[in-house]
């Protein structure tokens, strides 16, 4: 009788062990891969990354670090505006705002991203010239107002 009880206890314990087993399978869900970099072009390698879902904008649903190439990926599970914030220890922070559509989750389209990146090429040149123009126009206005007084 004691042996029977011992066998039953061991069988139950083994069942518990199996219940804590681990496994994996390839996910069918679509991930959003992002690359983060500084305005100088340097990659934001191994920086803290947090993901905020449309359901809760205060608490991150996922946190981790970018890889050495500044890449970070997450898997959205609902449509809406998602936000990924990557920051370093020096106070730099990059925020990626992404609108995930139901079509994307269903595998029909790509995501729509609103990237906050440094403009490039001709766009950069035009913005630089616009900035210089604004500075000199402000100087002109200030000079006229000082002359008027």
């Amino acid at each position: 009788m004691r042996r029977l009880v011992l066998v039953l206890v061991l069988a139950l314990w083994a069942g518990e062990c199996f219940a804590h087993g681990v496994g994996y399978r390839q996910s069918e869900l679509r991930a959003i891969p992002l690359e983060f970099f500084y305005s100088t072009g340097e990659k934001m390698s191994c920086r803290e990354a947090r993901v905020f879902s449309p359901k809760d904008e205060k608490f991150a649903v996922q946190s981790g670090r970018t890889d050495e190439e500044g890449r970070f990926a997450f898997v959205p599970d609902c449509s809406g505006d998602w936000r990924v914030i990557v920051r370093d220890e020096e106070g730099h922070q990059c925020t990626a705002d992404l609108t995930i559509t139901q079509d994307f989750l269903d595998g029909r389209t790509q995501s729509q991203t609103q990237d906050s990146l440094l403009p490039q090429g001709m766009d950069l040149l035009i913005r630089a010239l616009l900035g210089v123009s604004v500075i000199f126009n402000l100087a002109l206005i200030l000079r006229r107002s000082k002359h008027a007084h």
């Binding site: 072009g41 020096e90 630089a128 900035g131 604004v134």
Partner: protein, 196 residues
């Protein structure tokens, strides 16, 4: 060296705006109509300098020109920095508009300090090159230190980050020192009135 939005506490942001407002008010008072075009020129140079990348080993950074700005503009550096940083935030997404007060104070105060400490000596001393190098280097280190203090005042956990921030800017400080030596020596020869 731009601190991004959403990092600093409300108190630090308010303190930054208070310091910047005072600096800009005094700066505008010191900027007579004859100096306005010069101020616009230097502000434009500062605005564009952020687009010039410098490779340092595997990393890269950009020029600030804090010391030349301070030595040329004196108190007028505050309005020049405020306008340039506003345009950088709007056009290039550097920093941000809420944190603009802190960023302007960090850079304006550093440039002004260099002017107050080294201004006369750089103009008159025979060791102008050495002093120019010190001015250029210390302006960057001071700005990095102020940025670190802003972070540490927001959260004491940022204290180590503040130390890292200062150390990381040492290469840039050396480069800025060399650039300041070149600019000051050129101005002394070609346009000494800029340093007066």
């Amino acid at each position: 060296m731009h601190i991004s939005e959403g990092i600093l506490s409300g108190g630090v942001l308010l303190a930054g705006w208070a310091g910047t407002s005072a600096g800009v008010a005094v700066g505008l008072k010191h900027t007579d109509s004859a100096k306005i075009v010069r101020t616009a020129l230097i502000s434009s140079a500062f605005f564009l300098a952020s687009l010039v990348n410098i490779r340092i080993g595997p990393s890269s950074t950009h020029l600030t020109l804090l010391a030349p700005m301070g030595l040329i503009l004196g108190w007028g550096v505050f309005p020049a920095v405020l306008v340039a940083l506003t345009l950088q935030a709007v056009l290039f997404h550097f920093g941000g508009l809420v944190v603009l007060g802190v960023n302007t104070f960090i850079m304006g105060f550093s440039a002004l300090s260099v002017y107050l400490v080294f201004g006369r000596a750089v103009r008159e001393s025979k060791r102008g090159a050495v002093l120019s190098f010190l001015a250029g280097s210390l302006a960057v280190i001071l700005a990095a230190g102020l940025a670190g203090v802003s972070l540490a005042m927001t959260d004491p956990n940022f204290l180590n980050a503040a130390k890292v921030l200062i150390i990381a800017h040492i290469p840039l400080a050396i480069i800025e020192g060399a650039v300041t030596v070149f600019m000051v020596s050129w101005l002394k020869r070609s346009a000494p009135e800029f340093l007066s």
